[in-house]
Subunit: 143 residues, 6 copies
């Protein structure tokens, strides 16, 4: 590209990139390697979904100051437990929850609390995913 050609990046492109960069910073801080693996896996099938996860979910929503990261992960654990069938996303967000300061004891308590609203099977499924995540991080037994 010659020095005389004007910048080909439109304002819209720039904003798109800025949101992405902002979202990526949040994603890196919160989800680390587990979130990154999801984004990488999407590149050859649905790169726009990857972009929206980073640019919208993390860049637009997570980046807002209205709730601290710990609150957002607590909420997210509750929703993923209630939805069911989200074991992979639970793995990412159980790691995220630990990364932002929730203790294994608090996570287990949150999943016990979820039994009241979602029933025992959903609470049990989420707890077994938590067991795997805790095991991988050397956090068992939870006492």
């Amino acid at each position: 590209m010659s020095t005389t050609t004007p910048d080909p990046i439109t304002p819209e492109d720039r904003e798109r990139r800025d949101r992405f960069d902002r979202g990526r910073a949040v994603l890196d801080a919160v989800d680390g390697a587990a979130g990154e693996a999801v984004i990488t896996a999407l590149q050859d099938v649905a790169p726009e979904l990857a972009h929206q996860i980073i640019g919208w979910a993390y860049g637009d929503i997570y980046a807002r100051p209205g709730l601290v990261p710990r609150d957002r992960q607590l909420l997210t654990l509750g929703m993923l437990t209630a939805l069911g069938g989200c074991e992979k996303e639970l793995t990412v967000h159980l790691n995220a929850a630990l990364n932002v300061g929730l203790t294994p004891q608090e996570i287990v308590e949150a999943l016990l609390h979820s039994a009241v609203y979602c029933g025992i099977p959903r609470a049990l499924n989420a707890t077994m995913v938590a067991k795997d995540v805790f095991a991988e991080r050397g956090l068992l037994p939870v006492t």
Copy 2:
């Protein structure tokens, strides 16, 4: 049973009553009149369900010290939003959330966050219930 026989209340009955009393104290502190109305409505159709809501959900689970009341309500809002079709329960727990210190701004932010995981319709439905609860408590507009 003769007049000389001591208290006919078995240990099991007493424990059942104790759990109920413990749960009722939590329920009163957290949900106030909205929760009470649910319990009353159940008396002529399913008194045992009313007992289990108070004695188990509140007496056994809510009463545990592992998560502060604000955390429990945040979680609960996320789960009820994800489940869908729980507008009445959301009314109770949006009131509870305000009672234990969540601000309208935080609640609205939590429901915005829920759009990422549950989609726009669930987030929108819960937000419209929140609008009604806030209106009734003179908390609109949320700024």
Copy 3:
């Protein structure tokens, strides 16, 4: 129709009518007026859905001998409670459950049991629909 014109009803038409008749007999025996109202309401918008409800759901599935009507309604109450957002269908099938011999006490117990698997909100919503159905049939209080 003159004797020279061959019967215009194809074998397929006849079978379609036979399944419908078989289903209608089951529907009438089980759901009575409440089921009939649903079928009527569909006539000007989706008559084929009405046909499939009667001809398939009732004519093909309900009519099978493998489970007695009481078992089918017990199952159905459990599924409608778990699905959520099916208050109208619950009204139909709570009536059906009573029609095929489930007592109000058994229904209330089944909905209490559902709290274990579906959580308190789904159990509570279904129980409040049951209260309305029981009230309309003069079955309150359930003791």
Copy 4:
């Protein structure tokens, strides 16, 4: 930025407004008054959710050329039917479906098809909402 040019609109603000304007154009073309009413109702409780519905859902996703509007509404009807408890959103998107060229016959057929995957209750609930929408637009009976 010089002291004499007081332009207070940052590039980020401008992009935010551009996405909103793009989304609003799509929303107006597709959902008309029903969508607009939702956005208005959110203003005093969750204006950011309104912004995200327009700027993200319509501005970022709906505005993409990869699927024609008719395909998007067909998909949306299927998802809202499957989710359950989304009667208000179905009202908006049944209107949208008609606006982008789906006929009442196709909509009814789509909801009949949904019975295979979501079961009769979800299909029935969605069909009764369609009946209301069709009635309001003078489209009954569907033949």
Copy 5:
């Protein structure tokens, strides 16, 4: 039945067989080997469910002319994504969608669209199943 008329097939049996044959033709045209594998797997446990999938879902519903096969698969992808926990059925219907003319680009766009209504986790789960199906058919990368 006299010994001279050996036809043991009742009209009902014949219709049952006809619906099955009609459904099987649709199934073969749409789902190919993946659908066939499901039917085969059911033979020793629930042959009647296999019969109903073919005779009812395909023979009665899919065979209707009101929606073209491409529309039916688009709808089906939306519903299976919304339901969650239907990875095996998604595999069958992603193959079916490709068989009836939906392109990988349209499928990926449909799943991106689903994020608006079902949330990111459901959209992501479905997209990862699509990645597997596309990989098996040599359709990666989607560009």
Copy 6:
């Protein structure tokens, strides 16, 4: 216990242990080894959830006389099928259903019935789990 050492077991502890013992007896009678494995797996991550499953779900709810064990398992199969994503819990409760007297034929019929209310995918998923359970117990083919 001597008069100088005060009883270290509070009435609450005793009741907690009694409910647990009552629940364990029900669990053992109904779910056998499959249920036991779940409880064991929870010990190092969420022992309180294990306690609540036994003490509350089995000790408080299952132990009630209002529905016979066969009815409770029939209901449970319906709810787990409707919820989706509960394959592990279905394995436990399909075994339990057989243990309390439901025949493979009745179970298969119940899952066929579930197609009417939950749709084909949920019915199919549950039936494939049943196939595995029946195979392990030498109960195939179901005729």
